[in-house]
Structure formats: C-alpha cells, structure tokens
Amino acid sequence: MPARVVVLGGGVGGTLVANLLKKELKQDATVTVVDGTGMHLYQPGFLYVALDQANALWLTRDERTLLRKDIDLVVERAVKVDPAAQTVTLERGGTLPYDYLVMATGSRLDRDAVPGYDGTHDFYSLDGALRLREELRRFKGGAIRVGVAGIPYKCPPAPVEFVLMLDEYLRKKGVREKSTVTLLSPLNRAFTIESASKLVQPIFDKRGIDLVTFFNVETVDAVQRKVTSLEGETADYDLLVLVPPHRGSAVVEASGLGDAGGWIPTDRNTLQHEKHERIFAIGDATNLPISKSGSTAHFEAPVVASRIASLVKGTAPKTAYAGRVMCFLETGGGRATSLRFDYAHPPVPPQPSRLWHWAKWAFNRAYWITVPQGRVG
C-alpha cells in the first residue's frame, strides 16, 4: 500500500518537496498538497512592485500548474493536525490521514501586534506593496523612515535593499533633494552579516541615506507621525515603511505544534519536528534561528524529500540539511551582491556588481519554470 504524504502549504517549500517526493517515490507514495488559496505567490517580487519596477501580474501563478500531474491538490485551509491520529482536519470538516506530514505553512503578518500600526506601509504583502506603490507615486518629498517592528522576519536583507532602491527611485522622480531616507536598524549596523554591512555602509554614506542603530520599533503614533523604539527613542516621519511582526500559521497554533510565536521546534539537520518523527517542517514555519527566506525552503526541500523517501523505503537517510542558504542583495544603481553560506561557512560577499544584479533579475524571471519543479539546485 503506498505511503500517504501530505504537504501543508503550496509555497516554494511545499511545492518543491511535493514534486521531488513524487518523482522519487512514484507509485510507492501518494502525495497531496493542501493550500488555502491554490495560488502560489512569488514574495521576492513585492519589493519590485512597491518600487514600480514590475506589476503584480508577475507575482502569482495557479499552484496546479507548478505541481506534477500525479500530485493531488486540495484547495482548502487545513485547520488542525492531530499527530497521534496522524490526520489533518480541513476547514469544511473533511480529514486527510497521513503517514508523513510536511509543514510548509510559512509565516503570517501580525500588524495588530504593533500599537498604532494603522496607516503604516509595508512591502511584505501583495496589498501592502500595491498600496505603497501608489503612495510613492504621489510622494512629493519628506522624511521616509524604514524600520523593523518584529523579529523574526522574512528576508533579512530586504529593508537594506528597499532603502537603496528607494533612494534611486526618488532620484529618478526628482524628489530626492526634498527627502530624507533613513533606515531604522534593529542592530548596531545596517545589516546582520557584518561583511555585507561593510559593503553597503559606504553606499549609504555616498547617497546620504541615514542609519539609526539599535532601533527596534515598538509603537507608532500615526496622528503625531512618530515611531518609538523599545530602546526608548523616537523618530518623526512623513512616510513610514515597516517590516510587520511575523508569527507562525494558524494551523500550527491550533494544533499545539509550535512555540509561543507559532514556530515549529525543528531539528536543524533532519528537519523533523522535535517531538513527532513523522512530521517535518521547512521554510518559514520552523523555529530554527536561520533566515526565513525562499532560499532556505529551497535548499531544505530536497533534504526533507530524501529523508521521507528513505523512511518509506526503509533505508538509511542519505542527506541532512547543512544550513545552506543563498541570497542576493540589491545595492541599487544596477548592482547587487550575493550571500552564500551554511552552518560551517560564513558568507564572503563579493563587491557589488552588475553581474549579480543580472543574476538576480534572471533568477526572478526564470523562477516560475525552474524552482518549484526542482529544475535548479
């Protein structure tokens, strides 16, 4: 009898692991993807939409077109997992039994966690990116502050990329002279990876982008137009763009599978739930203190697929996740750098170049026909 594998979430991690698993196991497993909307969203594109470099048509595809035809797709929200009974309960009351479960449930934004958040912009959602785009189209000059209102958050480089690309946008619009651009960094430098921070700081200085350090956004006063940090400082703004707080998905919390933030306690190498060996977690959904990014899910998915396949076949596991992540970091002006690292090797980012900018552009454009299907490693 074929093993039953259920994958919750049709994002990059869920789609890729489902495709890889079915390819390897064929008739030895049934693979079912459960996704609440049936639409696959390319989140790295939000930045470009917000800054009017792309439109939103590019960002979404029908998940059915990204999955192998021999994979079942259930378009419905999963509301609860019962690890003892090995079942998933769906929103309309049906249940799916599983032998192995992959939690690729991502993260969700929790704007309500920031007192006074209303009126603040973000580029962390489709509607946020579209709304910010229209606001920036109307912008005639003033103080723009970009900050972080919760940790962890997806794509640690994104606030840095946003301010560098925003600077360029304002120059092209002819309002840069009438504006100030400030990155409110939660850290004591622009970016968490020190070597990358050293690359971007001279660019900040040259372009007149201000950096305020150790500023972790706690509250917003939209009437007075002030943002206050948990370190006790306040900044005025005309336009405020924040990375909203993130939390784990509702199904994780409803099932008691996660920690206080809704993140799943996950083994850093096997990617199994620390308490339930038949449940795996990938991408944003884990509690691992690594970056929440598509890249992480992309490199974790083959490990999960391989390890589940080994369990189904009764063979020894062949691979483990070694912490591999690869990110681009746009630095504006048609240049970018790359960040490649794993648990044993810290990143050594090259000087920003047009090559890496075009590599990121090519990756973005080719995503739909390469990554979810497992055509690029």
């Binding site: 850290l187 850093r268 970056s291």
Partner: protein, 82 residues
C-alpha cells in the same frame, strides 16, 4: 539545560553557525517575545557577538547575566528586566 549550577534559562537559542539573521537578532526577538524575568540563553560561534550582544543589552537596559566561553562558541545569558 543549565548553563551554570545557578542559572536555568527560560529559553535557549542555538545560533551556532547561523550567520543570518544572526545571534543578536535572534536574541532581540526572544527578548521581545518573552516576559520580564525571563532568562534567555544564546549560543553563538560568531566573533562579533562578544561586542554586539553586550552593546544591545546595555542600550535596551536588560541584564547581561553571564558570558561563558565554551569549545568554539560562547554562551550569552541575558535576563529581560522590563
């Protein structure tokens, strides 16, 4: 897990080998999510943590309880004071 005979952390984060988002950001997230009185331990193999973590803890007015060297990494133990 006990860091010393006297201290049992409320939460321990093993950030060894994890360049991004890095031990300090993980600590800030844990402090934000925790309750006053919580003791957070972060394991870091990143050399910069020895200056970064104490600097933020001081700025945010929490308590740096202990910094304990181990084989190739350091235990940072912080109490959330408010």
């Amino acid at each position: 897990m006990t860091v010393t005979p006297e201290i049992t952390p409320t939460r321990s984060i093993d950030a060894r080998g994890m360049a991004c988002p890095g031990p300090l950001l993980n600590l800030i997230g844990a402090i934000r999510a925790g309750q006053p009185g919580d003791v957070i331990e972060v394991l870091s193999s990143d050399a910069g943590s020895k200056t970064d973590i104490p600097a933020w803890v001081a700025k945010a007015k929490h308590e740096l309880v202990a910094v304990i060297e181990d084989a190739g990494f350091v235990h940072f133990v912080i109490r959330k004071t408010h």
